[in-house]
């Protein structure tokens, strides 16, 4: 039974999705979807522990031998990301029942959970599979359901944000498809391990270089790396709260996983960084992402948009770790992938808590909300400290590794940039803190006593996990190191 877990954890939400659309009743669908999500989490946990003790798992679908059949390969990196995605899905579904019931129109709630399960399927599939075209298929499954989920937001700008994401996402995915096609033309295989073996001998061919370029741009689009980031702020800001939380914690992280796979496994370190010297593009773009996004975040009036721009900056940190071309840099990148997912997840959950009582997420509507909702306010402060990188939060651990990696290379100017961006983060977090605690709440806000329900404890669970991993960082650091080792 456990041998089939690799495929089962992708197939389960896939089958559950149409069942969910048949159930078509808000609360029942929620119960069903949440159960499925926790089952998937249990499977991911089992897989993770198996990989930790027994090494990577290879699963041939239908018994067909690779490279002719499609193969699923769960190594240390894949297991880590799978754990992250399934954990966030389970927590999001469990926590947001009331929020979804309020934000999504009743007749669409069943479809909401369907799309959510499909998105989960897609994200898990991208990580689990070892076949290039399979990656494209699951990428599109997750993207399409994400477009639908985002469009369910109440504000009409959710529709245009979703449309923009659709256009840019489809272009990105199509570029990846072109890349896959060009590689297939030259190697005759779609299996990642086989590609890894065959590319070195043909790496001088222009079509392989072209394939690399197409992959790069396609992944950068999905990753929202500057300057291909324009879809992200709108998508995160106007989507329903549950969707913002889930996508912020998983979508770009899976795209980053794809980056690792393509650059390190498929094409290999020598080709990507010594022959094609990708780091000369990656580092400037990362720096621009970090600085420009943080500056943008400071001037946002809508807090969810500010958090979205903050995410863009944090993605810059992750790609910066890669561009340093060192072991420590790669570990820092993977570690921050994990830590940031939880920190951003917690912050979006905090905003969702506020949304129960405030009319919108604009700063002026949040005046004094920290005083009337102290637990939520404290949660925001602690999450914000994680973004800045204060000790005892997991954000500090990632920053420690990242700055260590930069110092190791002797790039002192880069250290200055990272410090500068941390201070920018301080500014945009503290702006919100001041509005929350130093301004008078409106009469409507004081009078509004609507209960927040399960979302608040779950927010604190995610938050406390970031604090826990900030104090006892063994688990994420060891997992990140194991993952980095697989890529080398």
């Amino acid at each position: 039974m456990t041998h089939h877990l690799a495929i089962l954890q992708v197939v389960l939400p896939l089958i559950a999705a149409p069942i969910c659309s048949l159930i078509n009743h808000g609360k029942a669908c929620w119960l069903f979807a949440t159960t499925v999500a926790w089952l998937v989490f249990a499977m991911s946990l089992t897989l993770f522990l198996d990989v930790q003790t027994g090494g990577s798992i290879r699963y041939e679908i239908g018994g067909w031998q690779p490279p002719w059949g499609i193969e699923y390969h769960i190594d240390a990196l894949a297991a880590f990301v799978l754990l992250l995605v399934s954990a966030m899905a389970a927590i999001t579904l469990s926590a947001f029942q009331r929020s979804i019931a309020i934000e999504i129109p009743k007749h669409k709630q069943g479809l909401f959970y369907t799309a959510f399960l499909l998105c989960l399927t897609g994200l898990l599939g991208i990580v689990a599979t070892a076949d290039a075209f399979n990656i494209f298929v699951f990428l599109e499954i997750s993207s399409l359901s994400a477009y639908a989920l985002i469009a369910l937001g109440r504000d009409r700008r959710a529709l245009t944000a979703s449309f923009e994401y659709l256009i840019m996402g489809t272009i990105g995915a199509t570029f990846i498809l072109i890349g896959i096609g060009l590689l297939y033309m030259q190697t005759g295989t779609l299996n990642i391990a086989d590609l890894q073996a065959r590319i070195p001998e043909i790496s001088h061919l222009h079509s392989v270089h072209a394939a690399f370029a197409f992959f790069t741009i396609g992944i950068f689009l999905k990753l929202a790396l500057f300057p291909l980031h324009h879809w992200l702020p709108g998508a995160y800001a106007y989507a329903p709260s549950a969707v913002s939380t889930f996508l912020a914690a998983t979508a770009t992280k899976v795209a980053l996983y794809l980056l690792y796979r393509v650059f390190y496994t498929v094409f290999g370190f020598e080709f990507s960084f010594e022959v094609l010297q990708l780091h000369y593009i990656l580092m400037p773009l990362s720096i621009l992402a970090i600085v420009i996004s943080s500056l943008n975040a400071i001037f946002q009036q809508d807090v969810k948009k500010m958090l979205a721009y903050s995410s863009l900056g944090q993605i810059g940190y992750m790609t910066l770790g890669i561009s340093l071309l060192s072991d420590v840099g790669l570990v820092a990148s993977i570690l921050h992938l994990f830590n940031h997912a939880f920190i951003k997840g917690a912050l979006f959950m905090t905003m969702a808590c506020f949304l129960f009582r405030t009319p919108s997420m604009r700063l002026d509507d949040l005046n004094g909300a920290g005083r009337t909702m102290p637990w939520v306010g404290m949660a925001f402060v602690l999450g914000g400290l994680g973004l800045i990188g204060i000790p005892l939060t997991s954000g500090f651990i990632s920053k420690w590794f990242l700055v260590s990696a930069v110092i190791e290379q002797g790039h002192w100017w880069l250290v200055a940039i990272i410090v500068f961006s941390s201070l920018l983060a301080l500014i945009y977090v503290w702006r919100v803190v001041e509005h929350l605690f130093f301004r008078e709440p409106s009469a409507a806000l004081v009078a509004n006593k609507q209960p927040i329900g399960a979302l608040l404890p779950f927010t604190w669970i995610v938050l406390l996990s970031t604090l826990y991993f900030g104090i006892n960082s063994d688990f994420p650091v060891q997992a990140a190191k194991a993952a980095a080792k697989v890529l080398q």
């Binding site: 400290l385 800045i388 000790p391 005892l392 260590s404 110092i407 201070l423 104090i471 006892n472 063994d474």
Partner: protein, 484 residues
Amino acid sequence: MMLANSLYLNFAIPVIGACLIALLHQHRRAFELVFIGTAAVLLWNTLRLFDLGQAAYFTNISPFSLIDSIPLAFHLEPLGLLFSGIASSLFLVTTLYAIGYMNANNEKHLARFYFCFCIAIFAVMGIAFAANLLTLFIFYEILSFSTYPLVTHKGNEAARNGGRAYLGLLLSTSIGFFLIAILWVWGSTSELDFVRDGFLQEQMPKEALIVLYTLFAFGVGKAGLMPFHRWLPSAMVAPTPVSALLHAVAVVKAGVFCVLKITVYVFGIDLLSSSGASTLIIWVATATMLLASLVALTQDNLKARLAYSTVSQLSYIVLGAALATASSIAGASMHMATHAVGKITLFFCAGAIYTAAKKTKVSELDGLAKAMPITFIAYTIAALSIIGLPPMAGSWSKWFLLDGALQAEYFWVAIAFIISTLLNMAYLLPVVARGFFAPAKDNISGIQEAPWMCLLPLSITAVSCFVLFFLLQELHLFLQPLFN
């Protein structure tokens, strides 16, 4: 085992106190008692740590590891014990004062105030006993954040702006300089533990050492070196008990303590004096000492004047550390104690004057000593101690600092010390002169001394300035393990 338990108890006590205060937040008398009780128990336990003696020094106690191989670790050693002793004894005195002051001035949100106070003291204990740079940094940041709600307690716009300057400067320096310096040390030496005689040795070239020491000195923004001193006057928007304990004692002493600890246990006195890595900081500290005194002269607001005086006095301690001789380090350590006692008295007096007479400016204090004799006598004693006149405690520490400067052959620094002493007289004594000798301007007949809960603490600390004079010989002996 005994050591570990006693040490952890020192952390547990303020945290338990804070939790109790939070639980009892509806019952004012109850949590006020808990507040005093916490301070008393903390002082008792800190004295127990002193009893453990030299044998317990430098044994690392580590509950768990933080990042990879770097543990969260604590140890006992003379500087840390001295700092924790100062902090815990003055904490007890301040609890009385705080309760008296906050009640007399009808301040709100008292439970939150005392809660954050206890957490801040917890952070102070963590800094005092940190055994490696990472632990020190962590508790340093906890101190910054736990004192922010105290500084911005009033919640109005002035408090918010003061809080911005406070947190902005402290975090900019700690993330921008302190953390970078720590990572640099970690990257070059793979060591962060505090070691007797320092662990940097000659591994790094001289220029690197100069930059590194400068990064550390500016990175510890709580030590108030110019131009990163601005947070201190900005933090005066806080209620006076906060200014008194935290900004005359705990926060600023944490800053200079970090500088001392890094000087002695990371660089080592010998390395510093032979490599001259601290030359730049000697200049900066001397300049801060003199400039801050000059600015203090121009301040009419009493608390602002005392704030700039603190900036100047902190530079004494940083200078003592940077001069890196046995005398100067001893003098700097002693000055931690004497300045703490003296400055807290001055702030207590300022708060008492505000509470009793609603006056905040030096120019308004004419003739007030007739109505508030005890307060003004305490102020005088403390002022004499800060100025450094025997038989007040401050004279010992100034003597050692002066001796240290001469030993290090920085004659112009010695001259600067003397000039600064004159400036101290110029900005501290006018209050005494006006209070006792000037005729009262307004009607002072209605003014009485501040309530006894404010008066008792300031009397105790004023007397301590005098009593400490006789105890400093023992303190010097206590500090000897630093030099052998």
